[in-house]
Amino acid sequence: MKNKWILLVEDNADDEELSRRALKKNKILNEVIVARDGAEALDYLLGVGNHAGHNIDNLPAVVLLDLKLPKIDGLEVLRRLRENEKTAHVPVVILTSSREEQDIANAYMNGCNSYIRKPVDFTQFNEAIQTLGLYWLLLNEPPVE
């Protein structure tokens, strides 16, 4: 559990705080690393750019990816992760407030593992995070290469 960390790609500080709180409330105490935009997320995961030299062998247990992000949007991040053989199998959960069918279709097409709409009702968001935590961090073993 210790090195099962979570990468939260989120530009909104409020949402970051609320997500952290929801994780904590659900007893998901894994380390959360936050990337503020799509470019930073990619640099971090692929060990390039601002994070050149960063050890990329230790991949996150799950990437919580917002769709609408500065610089490089969530779908593009997802596509690039899937293109790279290192990160092709990292579990990615799209977290967004957009319900447009287009987004959902695109997200699945690019190979995200799950899609969760951030509900305005925070109780629902808590539940969603709870399901996420149980599913990705406890039940689901990372793919064996």
Partner: protein, 428 residues
């Protein structure tokens, strides 16, 4: 006529013969009886000649008359006539044709046909039709520009027919007016098409803007709401013990308002999505959809005593997904606005209104004042308070959008506490 001429000739010859003979005949020896006889014969001939003369004059008049008719028919015909020799020389031209070409008739006669053709290319076309006419002995028709004497060109409809002795008859119709009208129509058509293309492009841009607007509405407007709701909840959960009941109530109201606003955002999005989506037309079984909705409504509040009367076999041509939204809202409204009555009846049926097939959903619920009947369909416009009946006021405006997109109309009738009837037609 030739008969008359021959006869006249004969009479004349005989009279002359008689006269010449008489010169020799009448001598001293000629008896007075013989002279009288001769004189009598001459008299008879003279009378006959006079009669013949009369007849000739009449024939002459006839000839003049038919020449005049010929002139009228040929020269003053509303179309141009030309006779062409096998050498493609103009042999005869009527006055109309000469006028068409703006030249005296004599200047055209014996000219080559190329005189009235604008260029070599036109000559080729002309000869081709001429050849076809001669070879097939059939009338050929076509349209082309012809050249006037002043160098101007005009549009003509040409007909060439085989004549006698390898000649061809050419009929020329000036169709400048028709061509101008056609050109104008074409021009207008092009302009229309141009305008349609422009409009379509503008629409596309508008749609794209709309799409990105909808996207940011759903994404950007939601984010702050989530913060308001999330931190209100955090306050309640983490600092609840520091708040009295009044404070907690305020926070609860804040959370309710954010839910309400989220609902409004969803509704606006729904509306915008329906206005821009494409219609997929098919036969839609309204009866079946209504029955399913009625069952769903019953299962949400099984304790209510509501009787649904749904006419069998109501089928229309339309988009099934969208028409389901219509029935969802109309039946949903009927269900909602009858909830204040202990028992109610909701009817879905069909009837003729002004000769057109119209569908109706009638209930015996709270109803509304009929003077507000047209207000019902405006977005967010409600006739009841949130306390009486909950709702945001988007349902009927969705219904109206969808019905309009199907080429139909929708209207409402009602009376306070006596129920409401919502009518709609679907296209055609």
């Amino acid at each position: 006529m030739t008969m008359t001429t021959a006869h006249t000739q004969d009479l004349r010859l005989r009279a002359e013969a008689l006269f010449t003979a008489s010169e020799n005949l009448i001598t001293e020896s000629t008896s007075p009886e013989e002279i009288t006889q001769l004189f009598h014969e001459l008299k008879v001939h003279q009378i006959e000649l006079q009669m013949q003369n009369e007849e000739l004059r009449r024939a002459q008049a006839d000839l003049h008359y038919s020449q005049a008719r010929y002139f009228d028919l040929y020269d003053l015909a509303p179309v141009g006539y030309m006779t062409l020799s096998d050498k493609k020389l103009i042999q005869e031209v009527n006055l109309t044709a000469a006028t068409m070409f703006g030249i005296v008739r004599s200047a055209l006669v014996k000219e080559g046909i190329s005189r009235i053709l604008p260029n070599d290319n036109h000559q080729l076309i002309f000869y081709k039709h001429l050849k076809q006419c001669v070879e097939s002995s059939a009338v050929q028709e076509w349209e082309m520009r012809l050249l006037r004497a002043d160098g101007e060109q005009f549009w003509a409809h040409l007909q060439v027919a085989p004549g006698q002795n390898e000649e061809c008859w050419l009929v020329i119709n000036d169709i400048t007016d028709r061509k101008n009208a056609e050109e104008k129509i074409n021009q207008l058509h092009l302009e229309m098409e141009q305008r349609v293309t422009e409009r379509t492009a503008q629409l596309k841009v508008a749609y794209q803007e709309m799409e990105s607007f909808a996207y940011s509405v759903s994404h950007d407007l939601r984010a702050p709401l989530r913060s308001i709701d999330g931190f209100s909840l955090a306050l309640l959960e983490d600092y609840g013990d520091k708040l009295d009941d009044g404070g907690k109530d305020y926070l609860r109201r804040v959370r309710c308002a954010t839910q309400k606003m989220a609902q409004l955002i969803d509704d606006i999005l729904k509306l915008s999505r329906i206005t821009r989506c494409e219609l997929t037309l098919e036969t839609v079984n309204l009866t079946k959809i209504a029955e399913i909705i009625a069952d769903e409504l019953h299962s949400t509040e099984p304790e209510r005593k509501v009787e649904f009367v749904i006419k069998k076999g109501l089928k229309v041509n339309g988009d099934s997904r969208l028409l389901k939204v219509v029935l969802d809202n109309l039946l949903g409204n009927a269900w909602k606005y009858t909830s204040s009555h202990a028992k109610s009846r909701i009817e879905f049926g069909r009837s003729k209104v002004d000769g057109k097939t119209a569908y109706f959903i009638r209930d015996d619920g709270a109803g509304f004042d009929t003077k507000y009947a047209d207000k019902l369909f405006a977005t967010f416009q409600r006739l009841h308070t949130e306390q009486e009946f909950p709702g945001t006021g988007i349902g009927l405006s969705l219904v109206q959008h969808i019905i309009h997109r199907h080429g139909g109309t929708v209207w409402a009738e009602g009376a306070v506490e006596q129920g409401a009837t919502l009518w709609f037609t679907v296209g055609g």
